[in-house]
Every structure is written in structure tokens, then in C-alpha cells.
Symmetry: C2
Subunit: 362 residues, 2 copies
């Protein structure tokens, strides 16, 4: 968000965990985001606070709000991105489509669910998971006995979430933004491809999607953002089932990996839009710059990788590619950057992005 | 350049005159760019030094180069952007088209030139001018008697440059980039419109320009950048004369006001391209994003202007407009930001940009 803040003439300050984070340029305070005094000190230095992850403890945000500090999205909304059980309950209440799910806190309850909806089910810790962490596909409660026996289960939300294992054709994501004034804007629904539970590629728009399903995706995202009072970005990750249904999988309320393509692919990037939305400015246009955009994540291939070794070769071989590096130390599987290609057809864009990524990693 | 450096994973450091400059985020040293020790200390902290203005004294840059520091563009090239007499002599030698000009150091020499090429001529101080400063249209040497009598004339270059006053149809600018490897890339030639000697609007491409003249503009820019060994951006400001000739007016070797439209209007912005070029990375593509781009400068309308007063109204009335604020204090005539509109036809883009600017200023 630092770059669009600069463009918009907005002063941005960052509370970062370390001095050398990718947000170093705008870091004004280094400290622990789970420490109330740290977050309060930071919050008092700005007009509005917002997030690039959802892990700031809700209790801290609630105390800030009680002191009159503008937290966007609010703790009330953010609760649904922090806690998957809270999310499932709210989705059910508003009528948004979920996989079959249940709150369980004993092996017996879990095994009953497996009997009914198995043989395999998906068990999730309600809070703290991301990029596939805190999620297990199991066929018996024994496979999460460590979670069930964990004295920390209370801190994980008190119970576990179990969901049917959905047979899906592919995964989609609908990114949108809403400001406190109630203005709403959405980007095209995208296809997200995962490897080992981590986003690998994003195709915008989702190839061959029907206009009916596109409209349905926006309708679901709008229902959620309005029902929960979301301000800023909302990413709704969904399954497109083999039966042609959409089921909500996860929510995020911040700039999201499924929207990185918007930097080059959209009239307004998700980063600028999130800033506009949390500041209650009018939202920017979300028209695509070109018919298609493809984003490919650069995931660390080793702990000693030299990302820059082939940098100029790739720039030269693939001049149409936009490479983004986050300035993070390499680590196997870590998101170190991404590549975006815009164009007229998805096959060409995908081939180009993958070609560039392969050359960078070699 | 801070934003594209972030994207490319390049660490950027800035020597700034004040702590609160628009480059504050990346400022690592505050000091005087005319002080050798200050510039040397800064230069030793980076791999390559480059510029966002051309006023660092040549003698300092030459000393850095003697110490093996990579200065891009080199002092040899930059001399031609710093000193208009040096430029005119080099253009003549390489065969690039200039207005009729002469080096003069006495009233007599100047009046002779006026007799031959008047009634009006343009007198310029060889160094230190920008945005119309250091330039006078005169019909008698008395009108620059202060310059001629100035004991500082030596520091202004030792003599004055006098040029015929060209009857021109419009002003054009050709922006291009070249890296030390010799790779060359150019953007479309643009029309630049000035008010009181300051750039007011830029239209890309220059409306109704013939393909012959477009090619000629690139040919001139390429000749200059190669003859002078320019690295980084080169902006060649030109007159299109009433006779359909192109004559070179000024040179700049850095991101230039005539190229701000490239942020939204081009596959690669001039800021990213300048970084790539000075780092000897392959140059990015310069294809236009949309057929037309129009840039309108936001010049301060008073010293107490509140630029943000109508910010949200303008965003709402003109959602297709990209507003850039530089975070500078308002001052009458100061460049405080700019607006870019991309689209299919220049009239619509221009009307939109001017409408948004008027609303911001009201």
C-alpha cells in the first residue's frame, strides 16, 4: 500500500514486526502487534488503522474502538476473517452458501460428522491458520487428536470446525471493496490455482465462466460485505463444485494474493482501492486494462536461492512480464514475489508467466 | 522512482535537501547536493548514483567518477543537460537540428544577433534555468543588462546563449531511455502545452502527428542519446515549426514532466525505465496501455490552497482520473501534483483532465 499512498498524497505509517520488513520504507514503529500498548501507541499516530493481515487480536482492536480510534475494517467485521467458526455461523445466518459444516469439540462429535459426511472431511482450527496451515483432511478423529488434546484448544477458538470435503471443479475468488459510505466495487471473479495449499496462479477472469456464475459470485461477495459491514477489501474464496454451485471457503479483509493482478490488470489496484475504502474516499474504477491478466506467485525453491541470478535474463527474454520482488530473504515455499502478465488470451499469458518463473528459478 | 524500485526489488536511497521532501520515505541522507563531502558520503552507500534534477555540480560528479563510482548518466553526458551552450555546440557537431544560435558575452554581440535575427530573440543563461527561469525574450541587449553586468556571469557559464525566436506551431517532446549496454527504447512523441513557461498539459501521442515526423523525433532523440552516451532517460524538448521542421529546444536526462503520463499510459513507466537503464537492466516495453493519454499538471493556485478540499468530490465526479499528489506545501505556480487520463480520444481525455483539475482548484 506504500506506493499508492504516495500517489494519492496520503501519509502512510506502518507498525512492523521487524525493522527490515518489506514495509521498511514506511515503518514508523517496530513492535509486537499482539501487545496492546504497542498497537495503541501506533494507532494514536494515525487517523485510521487498517491491516495487511488479520492477526491483530480482536480484544486489542475492541479497546481501540472504545477509545474512539477508527479501525477499518471494524473488529466486528474482522472477527469473521479471524475466526472460521464465527464466519460459518454468520454466513449461515445471512444465507450465503457454505459446505456442510459443524462445530466440534470432542472426538465423538467429529467421528459422527465423518460417518455422515465422510469418508474424508476437512478439519480447521478456527483461528490462526493461513496458506494451508491449521487445515487437515482426515478420515478419523485420531488424525487431529493432537488438536483435540491441546490445552491451547481454548485459545484456538474453543472448538474445531469440521466441513464436508467438497468435490470441486476449481477454486474461485471474488475480490471487492466497500467504504464506510456503503459504496461497493468488485473486480472480475478469478480462478485461483493452489499447490500444497498455497496459491500458485491466479487467472482473471476465471476462464470460461458463465455470466450467470460471475453475477452470482459478485452477489455473494456483496451480501457478505454488506451483512458484515466490511470496510476495505474483501476477498471471498469459493469452490465451484462439480454440480456448478458456488460455496464460500474463506474470507480475507485486506489486499489479498488473488488481487495482485490488479496492479497492472485493473484501472485501480487492490492496494489503492483498500486505501480509498478505509479512508471513506470514493472507490476507483475496476475495469480491466486488458481482457486477461495472469498472476504467478514466486515461491522460494530453496533457502539459499538467488532470485536475482537470472533477473536480467528473464527481463530480456520476457519483456512483457511484470516482476515484483518483495525484498524478503529466500526460504523454501515462501512467497518472495510474483509475476503478472496482461494480454488477450489466457493460454498465452499463462505460458509466458510460467516461462518467466521457470527461468527465474533455474 | 521509489515505487518502481519497490516493485523491482531494488533498494533505493535518496540524498534529499530536507527531511520532509516528497522522497522522505527513501531518504537516507539529508544534505546539500553542492557539497562534495556530502555527495561522496552518499555515493559510497550505493552501487549506482542517478538524479531527479540536473543541478549537482559537474566538478563533484567528475571527482566521484575518478574514484570509480558509477554515475549514471555520466558527467560527460550530463554536461549537455546542465549547460545550454555545451548542448548547442554538441548538437551542431552531431547534426541535430537547432534554432539559429550564438554564444555572446557583450551587449554589442547580442545586439548584432538581434539585428540579424530579431526583432525578438531568446536569451538564456547557460546553466541554472528551469521552468522558464533563466530565459528572456528580448529585442535589445538592455533587457539583459543585469545578466551581462553580473559579476556572477562567469558562474552562469561565462557567456550567454542567444537563439532566434522560433515561430512554432506547437512544442513536442520525445522521451527515450538508453542503458550502458546500448539498448534503446522510446515512448510516443508527445505534445507539451506550456503556460507562463511551465508545462501545463501533455498529450500522448501528439495529436495528428505524421508518422514521418514521429520517426524523425525518435531519430533525433536516438542520435542525441547515442552521440552523448546518455544512460537513463533522455527527454528532448522540440519545436514543431510552422514550416514543419523539428528543432531541439532543451534536453533533460532524468524522469521528466513530459513522461508522467507513462505511469498509467505505458507498459513501463518512465520511472521504472530510468531505474532499469541506469542499472544496465534490460529496458521495459513502452507500448501504450490505451490509444491516448493526457497529463495535466496541478500548479498551485495560491499559497494557502487546500488541495484536499475537493479531493473526494473529484474522485467521485471523475472516477476515470488518476490523481497524483506530491505531498509538497502549496505555493502559487508550484507543481503540486498531476492528473492522468487514458482513453480512446484526446478531446475526451483532455476535457476530463481539465474538468477534474478545475474542480480540484475551486
Amino acid at each position: 500500500m506504500i506506493a499508492p499512498a504516495g500517489k494519492l498524497g496520503i501519509e502512510i505509517k506502518v507498525l512492523a514486526e521487524t525493522q527490515d520488513s518489506p514495509a521498511a520504507e514506511a515503518t514508523t514503529l517496530v513492535g509486537d502487534f499482539t501487545d496492546f500498548e504497542t498497537v495503541l501507541t501506533f494507532a494514536k499516530s494515525v487517523d485510521v488503522i487498517t491491516f495487511d493481515h488479520e492477526h491483530v487480536p480482536l480484544a486489542i482492536l475492541q479497546q481501540l474502538e472504545q477509545q474512539g480510534i477508527s479501525v477499518q475494517p471494524s473488529s466486528r467485521a474482522l472477527a469473521h476473517a479471524q475466526n472460521k467458526l464465527v464466519m460459518r455461523k454468520a454466513l449461515e445466518k445471512m444465507g450465503a452458501p457454505s459446505p456442510i459444516w459443524k462445530e466440534v469439540s470432542t472426538a465423538l462429535e467429529l467421528d459422527q460428522f465423518i460417518n455422515e459426511h465422510g469418508p474424508e472431511v476437512v478439519v480447521k482450527t478456527p483461528i490462526g491458520g493461513y496458506d494451508g496451515k491449521g487445515v487437515r483432511v482426515v478420515s478419523s478423529s485420531e488424525q487431529v487428536s493432537d488438536w483435540l488434546a491441546d490445552p491451547m484448544l481454548a485459545s484456538l477458538g474453543g472448538s474445531l470446525l469440521v466441513e464436508q470435503k467438497v468435490s470441486f471443479k476449481r477454486e474461485l475468488a471474488q475480490l471487492c471493496a466497500r467504504n464506510p459510505n456503503g459504496d461497493f466495487a468488485s473486480w472480475p471473479v478469478v480462478e485461483t490455482r493452489q499447490k500444497n495449499g498455497v496459491c500458485s496462479e491466479v487467472l482473471s477472469p476465471a476462464p470460461n465462466i458463465s455470466s450467470e456464475m460471475s453475477r452470482e459470485a459478485v452477489k455473494i461477495a456483496r451480501l457478505i460485505s454488506e451483512s458484515l459491514g466490511v470496510t476495505g477489501n474483501l476477498a471471498v474464496e469459493m469452490f465451484e463444485t462439480n454440480q456448478g454451485e458456488l460455496l464460500v471457503n474463506e474470507l480475507a479483509m485486506r489486499p489479498h494474493n488473488s488481487g495482485h493482478f490488479t496492479i497492472e490488470g485493473s484501472a485501480t489496484s487492490q492496494f489503492e482501492q483498500h486505501l480509498r475504502a478505509v479512508l471513506n474516499l470514493p472507490l476507483g474504477k475496476t475495469d480491466p486494462i486488458r481482457p486477461v491478466a495472469v498472476m504467478a506467485n514466486l515461491l522460494g525453491v530453496s533457502n539459499s536461492q538467488d532470485l536475482l541470478a537470472n533477473y536480467d535474463k528473464v527481463m530480456s527474454s520476457f519483456p512483457e512480464v511484470n516482476i515484483h520482488f518483495y525484498g524478503k530473504a529466500p526460504r523454501l515455499g515462501r512467497k518472495l514475489g510474483h509475476i503478472t502478465v496482461v494480454g488477450d488470451d489466457v493460454e498465452t499469458c499463462l505460458r509466458t508467466a510460467e516461462g518467466a518463473r521457470n527461468q527465474l528459478n533455474n
